[in-house]
């Protein structure tokens, strides 16, 4: 399903630099702007993971607080504010489902490093355009059942490949293959090769 609201919100990157600077200056009104720009997207992502509206509200609140509290480590000139905030939102949700599922062993530090502001530098500010969203949708439908399953387990439940293998009753090597081929398919559809 195409998500016009999501696309619009994330295309509205013009002014992110100024917004980030205002947040760094502890301007409370900037928080309102940040929420108006990304609140709906963040809530949608979190709700998709935790599947409980009340919990989603708490986690979105935590997401914005976390961004507020760490924004001084964010590079306003080179950073992608929306991508960072969405990563924080998903991580909060994944952290919640992991902790509530007694899967505490591999969460906090790992999530911390994946939401470090320094990761979100030099990204395209308009990666969430309608063409990209259409490609994602198309790519997801092209995945086979197992590939779709592993992407869902990873994205919505934060399972490691070992945990997926256990959940699906499949050898780890098989699951790794499904993950890798699923990601490659999605990447190919997006025309977004990892550049190194």
């Amino acid at each position: 399903m195409l998500i016009p609201g999501l696309i619009l919100a994330l295309e509205a990157s013009e002014g992110d630099r100024d917004l980030a600077i205002r947040l760094q200056k502890r301007d409370p009104h900037a928080m309102a702007v940040l929420y108006d720009r990304f609140g709906r997207v963040a809530y949608s992502v979190v709700l998709a993971v935790v599947k409980d509206a009340g919990i989603a509200e708490d986690l979105v609140q935590e997401t914005f607080l976390r961004v507020w509290n760490r924004v001084n480590g964010f590079d306003a000139e080179r950073g992608a504010l929306g991508s960072w905030l969405l990563a924080v939102a998903r991580n909060r949700a994944i952290d919640y489902v992991r902790s509530s599922g007694a899967r505490m062993g591999r969460n906090s530090f790992e999530l911390e490093e994946r939401e470090h502001p320094a990761i979100f530098l030099d990204m395209e500010k308009s990666i969430f355009n309608s063409d990209q969203a259409r490609k994602i949708k198309t790519a997801l439908t092209k995945l086979n059942e197992n590939q779709q399953k592993v992407i869902e387990l990873a994205y919505y439940e934060g399972l490691s490949q070992s945990e997926m293998a256990e959940r699906m009753g499949q050898p780890l090597g098989t699951v790794k293959t499904w993950v890798r081929t699923a990601l490659k398919c999605l990447r190919d559809e997006l025309g977004r090769a990892v550049s190194v």
Binding site: Y43, S100, M104
Partner: protein
């Protein structure tokens, strides 16, 4: 491992499914600012973030905006108009003092909440995910205190209040203060101060008479979050 060997793991890292030993190897490359792996994981994270566009868009409740903003923009307390009409000029100065003090206190509390939520040293426990209500999280920090975020609290009669309890692994529950729910039946309650986390067994909330009690009414405990 070499950068070339790790190249295929950038996206599994970004997605959060990477396994050892690749996870540790890639972390080492990132920590030393590897000029190939750092831009590689950035690109992978950008790719993974685009997967969010497959999520069904849902409109959040209007109160969420207020909740988010209120933690960084202190709420203005209701102005005591009726009292103001009866007050003399000297009392107006007292009103000003009251407002300033209240805002300062609210701001300090917000900062305390921010600190405990964002401190990596805080332990956090989710409770109630499998029961209808209440649900939430507890953050425990050895020096900053215990923070409770809870939703789906029951509606209380006027003569009742919520009371939080810090329950040690051995010994009687310790009263940790009373609090009220927001209009949406959620609450954020912070008990500041040091906590012996090594001896902490659980954090619980009970329904008690207004003013609170020194010992919890056992059959009125609405939830207890074990601190594991």
């Amino acid at each position: 491992m070499t950068c070339e060997e790790l190249r295929g793991d950038y996206e599994t890292w970004a997605l959060g499914v990477i396994e050892e030993p690749e996870r540790g190897e890639l972390r080492a490359h990132l920590e030393r600012g590897c000029e190939l792996c750092v831009p590689g994981v950035r690109s992978a994270m950008e790719f993974v973030t685009t997967l969010s566009s497959a999520v069904k868009m849902v409109e959040p409740p209007a109160r969420l905006r207020k909740r988010v903003i209120s933690l960084v923009a202190p709420e203005k307390p209701a102005f005591p108009w009726s009292w103001l009409w009866a007050a003399a000029a000297a009392a107006l100065l007292m009103v000003s003092g009251y407002l300033g003090s209240s805002r300062t206190q609210q701001s300090a509390r917000s900062n305390q909440i921010l600190e405990i939520m964002s401190d990596p040293a805080s332990r956090q426990v989710a409770f109630g995910p499998n029961s209808p209500k209440p649900q939430g999280r507890v953050f425990v920090h050895s020096t900053k205190g215990v923070l409770l975020l809870v939703a789906h609290l029951p509606v209380l009669p006027a003569d009742k209040t919520f009371e939080m309890w810090i329950i040690p692994k051995a010994g009687a529950p310790v009263p940790a203060g009373i609090f009220a729910a927001h209009p949406d039946n959620s609450a954020n309650y912070l008990k500041p101060g040091p906590v012996d986390t090594s001896q902490l067994g659980a954090v619980a909330v009970s329904i008690e008479n207004t003013g609170g009690v020194q010992h919890p009414t056992v059959d009125q405990i609405i939830f207890a979050a074990p601190i594991v």
